[in-house]
Amino acid sequence: MTAAPVGVPTTETPTGAFDPALPYRLSSSVSVRPESFGALVYDFHTRRLSFLKTKPLVHVVQALEHHDDVHGALVDAGVAEPDRDQYLRALAGLARAGTITQRPITQGETP
C-alpha cells in the first residue's frame, strides 16, 4: 500500500473536471463508516466499496457540504499546507469515482 490517503482504485465515471474552487458534497448514494484507520465508503448505487485511509480525509469529505469550496474543508480538517496537494489529488479521485459530487451554488455563496 502506498501512503496515498485513498485506497482501492475505482473505475472512473467522468462527472466533469474536479475544481477545488467549487462547492462539493458527499454523493447522496454514498455512506461513510468511521474505522480506526479512517473510514469505509460505500456507494449503494455503484455497489463500490472504497477506503479513506486517513482520519483527516474523512473529516474533509464530511465537511465539504459546509464550505463554499474544497479549500475551506481542508482548512476545517486542519490539513497542513504541505499536505494539501496530496489531499486534492485524493479528492479528485473521489470526484471521478462519484463518491463526492459538485454541489449547486446556493444563494449567499459566491462562485
Binding site: M1, G7, S31, R33, P34, E35, S36, F37, L40, Y42, F44, H45, R47, L49, F51, K53
Partner: protein
C-alpha cells in the same frame, strides 16, 4: 500501519458478511459447503431475520451476501430482500436459479441495490450436472436468460473451480459475455459435503498453475472473492487483500443464527456465538473470544520460514482444518507442494474434523440420466487401521469418501 494490518486486527463491523438464510435446498450439490438440503426447524423467523437486518443497518454493514441452501425457497425471501434494501443493507444473493422465472427477473430488474449471483459449476451441462445434479445446468441458464431479457444488467455467474471445469474458464467467460454478466470464480474448499468430494474435485497442482496463469492473463474483469490468495506464491500477487478475513472483516451467520468465522468453517471450533443471544450480532462480532483470537497474532508455524509466506499467509484456515492439517501448517493446496507432503505424513489415526452440522437430504438424488460417473470416488487414503473391516469403524475420522456417518 498499512490498511491490511488494520484489517488483520478487525474492524468495528464486518466489511460484508455471508448470511445463509436456510439450509433447505432443491439441489444436493456434492461439494455443498454447508451440507444443505433439509430445512432446520430452528431457522430464524421472519421477525428475527428483520431484527438482524436492523442490527446490520445500525452497524453500517453496507451489504450482505445471502446464500443457503437455496435462499429463494424461503417463503419470506422476497420480503426480507425488500426489507434489507429499505434499511440500507444492500443484498447480493446466490441462487441456483430455481425461482428466477420471468416475473421474478422483472421484479429484480426493477429493484435497486440488489445483485444476483447464479451458481454454475460447469460450462456444459455434462460437467455442471455431475456436481450440481441433473437439470441444474438448464435451470441456471434459464434464470440467466430471464435476467438478461428483463434487462437486469450485470448479474454475476459464480463458479467453483474444480478439476473438471478448470479447462472451461474461457467458456464460462463466453457465457458471462453472452448474458452481459460478470464472471466470478472461487476456490473449492473441503467444507461441508466438499470434504467428501474434495479428493475427486480439487484442482491438481498443474491445474492450479493453469488457473493462476489464466487469472494473471485474463482475470482483469473476473471476480474471485479474494479466494485464491494462496496462488500468489507463484509470483505476482493477485488483486485483492491477500488476507484471510475470517472473523476479522467477514463472517457467516447461518440459518439458525449461529455466527461462524467464515462460510467455509461451519464447525464448533469456529463458532463465535449466536445472534439470538444477549447483545445480538454486535456483541458476537465485537466481543466474542474466538474473533478476539483470530484478530490477535497468528502463528504461521513452519510456513513463516518460507520465502512465499508474505504472499500466501499460510493459505486457507478452513482448507487446512477440514483436511486434518494443523492451522499453523501449510495449506493442502500449497503451490510448493508442502501441503501434499504434510497430508502424506498425517498419521493413520489422525482425526479429521467433520462439519458440526449436516442438513443433507436423507436420500441421495436419483440416478443420473447418463448413468455417468459416481461423484464420490473412493479415497486414496489408507483406512484408519489395516484390520478395520467395519465401514463405520473410526467414526469421526476420515472415512473412504462417500461413506457418511450420521
Amino acid at each position: 500501519m498499512k490498511l491490511v494490518e488494520h484489517f488483520t486486527h478487525g474492524l468495528t463491523s464486518p466489511i460484508c458478511l455471508t448470511w445463509e438464510l436456510t439450509y433447505a435446498c432443491n439441489l444436493s450439490c456434492v461439494h455443498c459447503l454447508s451440507s444443505s438440503g433439509r430445512r432446520d426447524p430452528n431457522e430464524l423467523s421472519t421477525a428475527e431475520a428483520k431484527a438482524v437486518i436492523d442490527e446490520l443497518q445500525r452497524m453500517q454493514v453496507f451489504y450482505v451476501n445471502i446464500g443457503g441452501g437455496e435462499p429463494t425457497v424461503r417463503s419470506d425471501f422476497w420480503e426480507l430482500l425488500d426489507y434489507a434494501i429499505a434499511h440500507d443493507v444492500g443484498v447480493k444473493f446466490s441462487t441456483n436459479g430455481v425461482k428466477l422465472d420471468e416475473a421474478r427477473a422483472a421484479q429484480l430488474a426493477a429493484t435497486d441495490y440488489v445483485d444476483v449471483q447464479i451458481s454454475l459449476d460447469g460450462a456444459t451441462a455434462e460437467v455442471n450436472d455431475h456436481v450440481r445434479g441433473p437439470g441444474s445446468y438448464d435451470t441456471a441458464i434459464r434464470a440467466m436468460e430471464n435476467l438478461y431479457e428483463a434487462g437486469f444488467g450485470q448479474f454475476k455467474i459464480s463458479v467453483v473451480v474444480t478439476r473438471q471445469n478448470v479447462g472451461q474458464l474461457d467458456d464460462f467467460k463466453a457465457i458471462a459475455d453472452r448474458y452481459g454478466a460478470q464472471l466470478r470464480i472461487t476456490r473449492l474448499r473441503p467444507s461441508g459435503r466438499g470434504a467428501d468430494s474434495w479428493d475427486e474435485l480439487h484442482p491438481t497442482q498443474a491445474q492450479q498453475r493453469q488457473l493462476y496463469d489464466w487469472l494473471v492473463a485474463r482475470g482483469e474483469d473476473v471476480l474471485t472473492g479474494d479466494s485464491f490468495f494462496h496462488l500468489s506464491a507463484y509470483g505476482q500477487e493477485l488483486p485483492g487483500l491477500n488476507l484471510c478475513g475470517a472473523g476479522r472483516v467477514v463472517c457467516l451467520i447461518d440459518p439458525v443464527g449461529d455466527v461462524y468465522a467464515c462460510p467455509f468453517a461451519i464447525h464448533d471450533q469456529f463458532l463465535a456465538g449466536n445472534v439470538r443471544s444477549e447483545g445480538g450480532f454486535r456483541e458476537v462480532w465485537q466481543h466474542s473470544e474466538l474473533f478476539g483470537e483470530l484478530r490477535g497474532p497468528q502463528s504461521g508455524g513452519a510456513c513463516t520460514k518460507c520465502s512465499h509466506y508474505d504472499a500466501c499467509q499460510g493459505g486457507c484456515m478452513a482448507a487446512k482444518f477440514f483436511t486434518g492439517l494443523p492451522l499453523d501448517g501449510p495449506d493442502p493446496e500449497c503451490v510448493l507442494g508442502n501441503g501434499e507432503t504434510a497430508l502424506a505424513k498425517l498419521e493413520m489415526d489422525t482425526v479429521i474434523p467433520k462439519p458440526s452440522l449436516d442438513h443433507s437430504h436423507r436420500k441421495t438424488r436419483g440416478e443420473r440420466k447418463d448413468g455417468g460417473p459416481v461423484p464420490l470416488t473412493l479415497s486414496v487414503r489408507r483406512p484408519d487401521k489395516a484390520c478395520d473391516s467395519d465401514p463405520l469403524a473410526g467414526e469421526g475420522r476420515r472415512l473412504p469418501a462417500g461413506v457418511r456417518v450420521n
